[in-house]
């Protein structure tokens, strides 16, 4: 039986304040990821227990600078705190996480939280950093002035977690009574407008305040009733008449309140240190016009080389395990369709995918390091120069970089992009980045293409494929920004957090999450596809029991499908067997390797399987010439770089764009692009005399 919840606690704050670290420290592995009803934004919740064992739900809100929102993820935080989300009551408590080393900026969000009328607990994180910077914070005075509990913390080593639990469990938790004071005329307008909103009494004041602070475009977008619209604009006019700007006045009032508070509670020991910090020194290189690029390319190269070198022994171990399992099952079962299904279909298909888990984990490890260390924002800054040429800004690069691991988190990461059109453009091009599912295809094709190549040479070709995806994404973004989704190039506004040592535990937790999702997918989607594929490649069986394997394959439904599409794909250098692989991998591109394994009747086919590579190298066309020439391998890789072959991504794009129009358009344009790219490579290569 589920335990009754004592409280619903929301955790809020600016980005880069250690919110997720506190969330992880409080909930451990008792987390789940879902969606808010009616909206498409991810909802991360967890469970923790108070100081007397009371069960509480913790909601991790997206990082937000303000309740005056600018992006879809900020809107989720605001809507949940204001009780606007159907089926999601307002939280009972808000833990507001602030960076102790930068109180004069981070208390701004606290000022807004205090205006919500919900009990607030301030988690004063990174007190160690503040201390190291010579800042001393008078905690008693801060608590007194804020009128809410303040817990000093160092979340990275779990200092203060117990005290935070105690503070959240306290009964009763009084509602905050102190807040920034706005001009009296402003308060009068808020009170007047609050009566006209349909919001519940407890959130009506904030709703009115947010309405008064909207600009013209914001008011139009808010879909207000004519009465409310008139009341808001009339209120704004009266305020302007009184010499008060309704948009900037609340911000200025809060910052005045914050400044008064900081002057009373923050004391600097010794002289203000004007010297360069470690972050300053690192930024002199990492955001430099030339060295920044050198560092960026070096880091990306290191990542791809590690994916090859570090993953290899683990992959070999998994490989061996899968082969042993296949052999064991094969030796304990009588020959027949069931054995073929289990050994060739299930172990071959699912095993072929599971084996590249180590590479995916290494990729996520690197991306975690880049994100936690603060480098990801620098990468966005470096890329802004390039991105602005195609009409996007550097922020769009972060989802694209995440898409190197998987397009799903990449598409979801576009929620931080304010402009709807730019967000759509980023969603449309993000799957062009080479995700981890393309890895096995590249690995096997590179091995077939250049059997004697060393690891560096292989990594170089791999890097080339990743670069091709990146270039294609830029070109397509430029095309979309000039045609379908025409809009001005957005202005860059991006916080560059200080460099910090990554918290390995947090990264490990995210890797665990990704591994779970990956294995679940292997056990469901890929398993189902493997079984379907096996059936397609097995039935109907040829009437002649003496038929060769190739004849049996050609007779199967899959074989006939391959033959049907062969005239279409022949100009790309592909035969009907490759056609089966392409058709089979339209739902999940990683299925290609397993399909090749089933076609060539290799048990436990994966990209490291030498037998599969040998079979592919030995494969001949009807005229006796080799099928998998270097040019065909390259053409096939280009096809896989550019094609949209992932049902999960299609599903997430449908959810994020709210319909089928954009995902269908995305499938169409990427398929056309893949065909064109492959055609140019193969036919162009032939014209140049390559094979």
């Amino acid at each position: 039986m589920a335990e009754a919840l004592f409280r619903r606690v929301a955790i809020a704050g600016n980005p880069n304040t250690g919110k997720s670290t506190i969330f992880n420290a409080l909930t451990g592995l008792r987390q789940k990821v879902g969606n808010y009803p009616g909206v498409t934004v991810e909802k991360k919740t967890g469970r923790f227990f108070g100081s007397h064992g009371e069960a509480m739900e913790l909601i991790d809100l997206p990082g937000s600078y303000s309740l005056q929102v600018r992006s879809p993820d900020e809107a989720v935080a605001r809507d949940l705190l204001l009780g606007r989300v159907a089926g999601e009551p307002r939280p009972d408590v808000i833990i507001t996480v602030v960076d102790a080393s930068n109180l004069d900026r981070h208390l701004y969000i606290v000022a807004q939280m205090l205006e919500l009328g919900i009990p607030v607990v301030v988690a004063l994180n990174m007190v160690d950093v503040a201390e190291a910077r010579g800042l001393s914070i008078d905690l008693l005075e801060l608590k007194e002035r804020l009128g809410v509990p303040v817990i000093p913390m160092v979340a990275s080593n779990a200092t203060g977690i117990i005290e935070l639990k105690q503070a959240v469990s306290r009964t009763p938790l009084p509602k905050p009574e102190r807040r920034a004071q706005f001009p009296i005329v402003f308060e009068t307008e808020i009170a007047h407008l609050a009566k006209l909103t349909n919001a519940p009494a407890e959130s009506a004041r904030m709703e009115a305040m947010l309405l008064l602070s909207l600009d013209e475009q914001g008011l139009r977008d808010a879909n207000l009733s004519p009465t409310l619209y008139t009341a808001v604009t009339a209120g704004q006019t009266r305020l302007r008449g009184a010499g008060i700007d309704p948009i900037s006045a609340p911000v200025d009032a809060r910052y005045d309140w914050v400044a008064t508070m900081c002057s009373a509670v923050v004391h600097r020991r010794g002289e203000d240190n004007e010297g360069l910090t470690i972050s300053d020194r690192l930024d002199m290189i990492l955001t430099h016009k030339v060295w920044g690029w050198v560092a960026f390319v070096a880091m990306m190269s290191l990542m791809f080389v590690c994916i090859f070198f570090l993953a290899e022994p683990i992959m070999e171990a998994i490989n061996g395990g899968m082969a042993a399992l296949g052999n064991w099952i094969g030796s304990h079962m009588a020959e027949g369709d069931l054995r073929s299904l289990i050994v060739d279909g299930i172990i071959g298909g699912v095993g072929g995918m599971v084996v590249f888990l180590p590479q995916i984990l290494i990729l996520f490890f690197f991306l975690g390091i880049l994100e936690d260390s603060g480098y990801m924002a620098r990468a966005a800054f470096i890329m802004d120069r390039l991105m602005s040429r195609v009409g996007l800004h550097g922020k769009s690069f972060v989802p694209m970089l995440s898409s190197f691991a998987c397009a799903i988190p990449g598409v979801m990461a576009t929620r931080t992009i304010e402009s709807r059109k730019d967000r759509l453009v980023t969603i449309l091009v993000a799957p062009l980045m080479s995700c981890s599912a393309r890895l096995p295809v590249y690995i096997v094709m590179i091995a077939v293409m250049l059997p004697a190549a060393g690891a560096l040479q292989r990594a170089g070709i791999m890097l080339g494929m990743y670069a091709l995806g990146l270039i294609a994404a830029f070109v397509m973004a430029w095309v979309f920004k000039k045609t379908l989704l025409k809009s001005e190039t957005p202005m860059l506004l991006l916080e560059l957090p200080p460099y910090r040592a990554p918290i390995i535990r947090g990264i490990a937790q995210r890797m665990w999450e990704r591994a779970t999702i990956f294995l679940r997918r292997a056990g469901t989607v890929i398993l189902a596809l493997s079984i379907v594929l096996w059936a397609l490649l097995t039935y109907p069986k040829p009437e002649n029991p003496e038929a060769t394997q190739s004849e049996a394959l050609a007779h199967s439904i899959g074989g006939r499908m391959g033959h049907t599409i062969e005239p279409v794909i022949a100009p790309l250098g592909f035969d009907w067997k490759i056609g089966i692989g392409i058709v089979a991998s339209f739902a999940a591109r990683e299925v290609f390797v397993g399909t090749m394994g089933q076609i060539y009747n290799i048990e436990d086919a994966d990209e490291d399987n030498e037998e599969l590579r040998e079979q592919m190298r030995a494969e001949k066309r009807p005229d006796g010439s080799p099928l998998f020439t270097p040019l065909v391998c390259l053409s096939l890789m280009v096809f896989y770089v550019l094609a949209m072959q992932c049902v999960s991504t299609v599903a997430i794009v449908r959810r994020e764009t709210g319909g089928w129009t954009w995902p269908l358009f995305q499938i169409a344009y990427m398929t056309a692009l893949a065909y064109l790219g492959s055609l140019i490579v193969y036919q162009g290569g032939k014209l140049l005399g390559f094979q």
Partner: protein, 80 residues
């Protein structure tokens, strides 16, 4: 000692200069976010990198801003 009061925009200010914000336009949505990030009148800013985008330090935080956005921020130079 404070130096001259040369008015300019953050985009045109020299890299390495310490500046004081004089004015930000009150009603454009980008500038509202700038205000919320601490770019209010009288605040001190240091410009640390210049290019297609600009990096400045405000209240101990580094913020990257597009050059066009920096044109909205009027500043005066207080020291190099």
């Amino acid at each position: 000692m404070l130096h001259t009061n040369s008015k300019t925009t953050l985009a045109s200010a020299k890299c390495g200069d310490k500046l004081r914000v004089l004015h930000i336009c009150p009603d454009c949505p980008h500038c509202l976010r700038l205000r919320e990030l601490g770019f209010h009148d009288r605040i001190l800013v240091k410009k640390v990198a210049d290019g297609t985008a600009i990096i400045c330090v405000i209240m101990g935080t580094r913020i990257a801003l597009g050059r066009e956005l920096c044109e909205h921020i009027e500043v005066e130079r207080i020291a190099a």
